[in-house]
């Protein structure tokens, strides 16, 4: 079934939060909230019903890949091209830890940046239909995806919460 989109534009954090709570109470869960800055109260409200971000999984996998690459590269290349001095073993862990550490940070950091792109679905080639340029200035947006027959209810809920402007 085709869904309708209703967007409420707010000037204040508390009215935005109120709208999110009321919409949730009435069973509207398909919400997209736009904010100029991350707002802790809004984040907490949204996070309540959503699993935690998987970014840290990317970081962990990236960092572990870096550690193993660092040790593999140093150990393997030392065995392949041995520079034996003083009859000592060519594989020497203390200096290799430095390379492994650097690659842990490097791969972990790059994987974290990749996570922002993949999980945040960036880059976006065209703006979302509900996006408004004021959302990077000083306005908050609550976009609701709902069946067309409930759009009137959503509109009145958003208006009652204090939306400056409501549009479909």
């Amino acid at each position: 079934m085709a869904m309708a989109s209703v967007l409420g534009i707010f000037a204040h954090v508390d009215t935005t939060l109120d709208a999110i709570r009321k919409l949730r109470e009435k069973g509207f869960s398909e919400l997209t909230v736009y904010t100029p800055v991350p707002v802790e109260e809004i984040e907490e409200e949204i996070e309540r019903v959503r699993p935690l971000s998987k970014v840290r999984l990317f970081t962990l996998v990236g960092a572990l890949t870096g550690t193993s690459t660092g040790f593999f590269l140093t150990i393997w290349s030392s065995l392949k091209w041995s520079l034996v001095t003083g009859a000592k073993d060519p594989v020497s862990f203390p200096p290799f830890i430095i390379i492994a550490f650097e690659l842990t940070i490097l791969f972990g950091g790059l994987a974290t940046a990749l996570a922002i792109l993949l999980l945040g679905r960036l880059p976006r080639l065209s703006p979302s239909p509900t996006y408004d340029p004021r959302f990077t200035l000083d306005r908050f947006g609550v976009a609701v995806s709902c069946p067309p027959e409930t759009a009137a209810t959503v509109t009145s809920l958003l208006t009652a919460s204090g939306a400056e402007e409501v549009r479909r």
Binding site: H12, P38, V39, S53, L83, E102, I105
Partner: protein, 448 residues
């Protein structure tokens, strides 16, 4: 009652406006500065070309000081590159709110300083077209770098630091560029639209972004502390008197932070004046920066005392002789200048008024930068100039070529920074807004 902002505080719209106006078409003064800096850079490039054409003798490098001004300046620029990530990552994790107004400029400074530092091993090595030999890559001769060499650790540490600093810097820029995109028109809007990656500030984007930013800060924190430790190993792992010390890692890290903060002050003071950002970069920020310079100066002085004490207390003849040589022979002026600039001059910041007095802040910062350059000069040139055997002793004389290249490196750094402040938001729109009062319709506590 609508509670938008606290009295005297800029509103969120003010922040966008105040940052957006800095990325407009600059005036003639700006272009005049750019031309001057580009001219100096041009001289540096010509000097480098001359050095490549005639050989490394043009740089005044001869036995025993084969590491001279280039490595001194390399360590200096790496040190400068420390403050940015320290402010953006470590102070972020500590939730130090005052960092928000200065961290973007400091981060840009870090990236450009590390880019400048990265040029010096290439200049120093002479045949820089073989620089890729330092990186591990499969080749027909099965040759691999010696991973037990501190010089190879350096390659890894600095490339990682540059990459992570650039990533951290770009990630922080995305929401701010989106804000500029929404306030621009025409071609500028199109360019910012591409650079902002289509950022919209939706809850799902913020959710991943915030976690990722925190994780990047957590990764960058040990990196900041490790980079200059690894640079210090270039010296500490050698047996040269005055170098072979376990003190070097914390000594170098503290010195790096010290000089980095001085450079941040040197850059943000004119920025505040030119962009009229007095509402964002206040005396409180100047005071905090001055306090950090004072603390790092005191720690550095403690290291200087430890260094001298251990040279004497060790009973080691060469260590004592090296210290005596540095303090009394032909380079004594450089040795004592370092102490004056790094240990004595910053003490003025014990005086509260000096911490917010712009001329004092500027002059002390310049002294610190001069002192920290000479500190590296004293370690490298003086350390190599007085070794174990009298036949290896020597005096280094700078040449026009190496001095011009070094002045050119400053021009390269300032050219990048001047370019940045006119095309990118040099104040973080999002983070500055975050610390301002959030707009509320109903005042907290139920008041209306």
């Amino acid at each position: 009652m609508s509670v938008a902002t606290q009295p005297g505080q800029p509103s969120w719209a003010d922040v966008n406006r105040d940052v957006a106006r800095t990325v407009g078409m600059p005036g003639n003064t700006y272009f005049a500065w750019m031309c001057l800096v580009a001219l100096i850079l041009g001289c540096g490039v010509l000097a480098w070309a001359y050095q490549i054409w005639t050989g490394m003798g043009a740089a005044g490098k001869r036995t025993p000081q084969m590491w001279a001004m280039y490595i001194t300046t390399f360590v200096f620029w790496i040190g400068i590159g420390h403050a940015g990530t320290l402010i953006s990552a470590i102070l972020y994790l500590f939730r130090a709110k005052w960092r928000t107004s200065i961290y973007r400029g400091a981060e840009a400074m870090t990236v450009f300083a590390v880019m400048t530092a990265g040029l010096f091993p290439l200049i120093h090595a002479g045949r820089m077209w073989f620089a890729y030999w330092l990186t591990p890559y499969p080749n027909q001769r099965y040759l691999w770098p010696n991973f037990k060499s501190p010089l190879v650790w350096d390659v890894f540490a600095i490339s990682t630091y540059l990459t992570i600093s650039v990533v951290f810097f770009l990630v922080g820029l995305v929401p701010d560029i989106a804000a500029l995109r929404d306030q621009s028109t025409g071609v500028k809007k199109k360019i910012y639209a591409v650079m902002s990656l289509g950022w919209e500030g939706s809850d799902s984007q913020w959710r991943h972004y915030r976690r990722a930013y925190g994780l990047l800060a957590s990764l960058a924190t040990p990196l900041v502390l490790s980079v200059h430790s690894v640079v210090s190993f270039d010296f500490a792992m050698a047996l040269v008197p005055g170098w072979h010390s376990t003190l070097f890692a914390p000594f170098f890290v503290d010195g790096a932070i010290f000089s980095g903060f001085a450079m941040v002050l040197l850059l943000i003071i004119p920025m505040r004046y030119l962009f009229n950002w007095y509402a964002y970069i206040t005396d409180k920020h100047m005071d905090a920066m001055a306090k950090l310079i004072l603390v790092t100066s005191l720690v550095l002085t403690y290291f200087y005392i430890c260094e001298a004490f251990t040279s004497w207390y060790s009973g080691e003849h060469f260590e004592r002789a090296s210290l005596f040589y540095r303090a009394t022979r032909q380079y004594a002026w450089a040795f004592w200048l370092q102490y004056l600039c790094n240990s004595v001059v910053p003490l003025v910041f014990f005086w509260r008024k000096a911490r917010t007095h712009i001329a004092t802040l500027y002059i002390v910062s310049l002294f610190v930068l001069v002192g920290m350059w000479f500190e590296r000069f004293n370690i490298i040139v003086l350390g190599l100039g007085f070794d174990f055997y009298p036949y290896t002793w020597g005096t280094y004389y700078p040449t026009v070529t190496d001095s011009t290249i070094i002045v050119g490196s400053f021009a390269w750094f300032f050219l990048l920074f001047l370019g940045f402040i006119r095309v990118m938001p040099s104040l973080s729109i999002v983070e500055v807004k975050e610390v301002l009062a959030h707009p509320l319709k109903h005042a907290p506590g139920g008041r209306h």
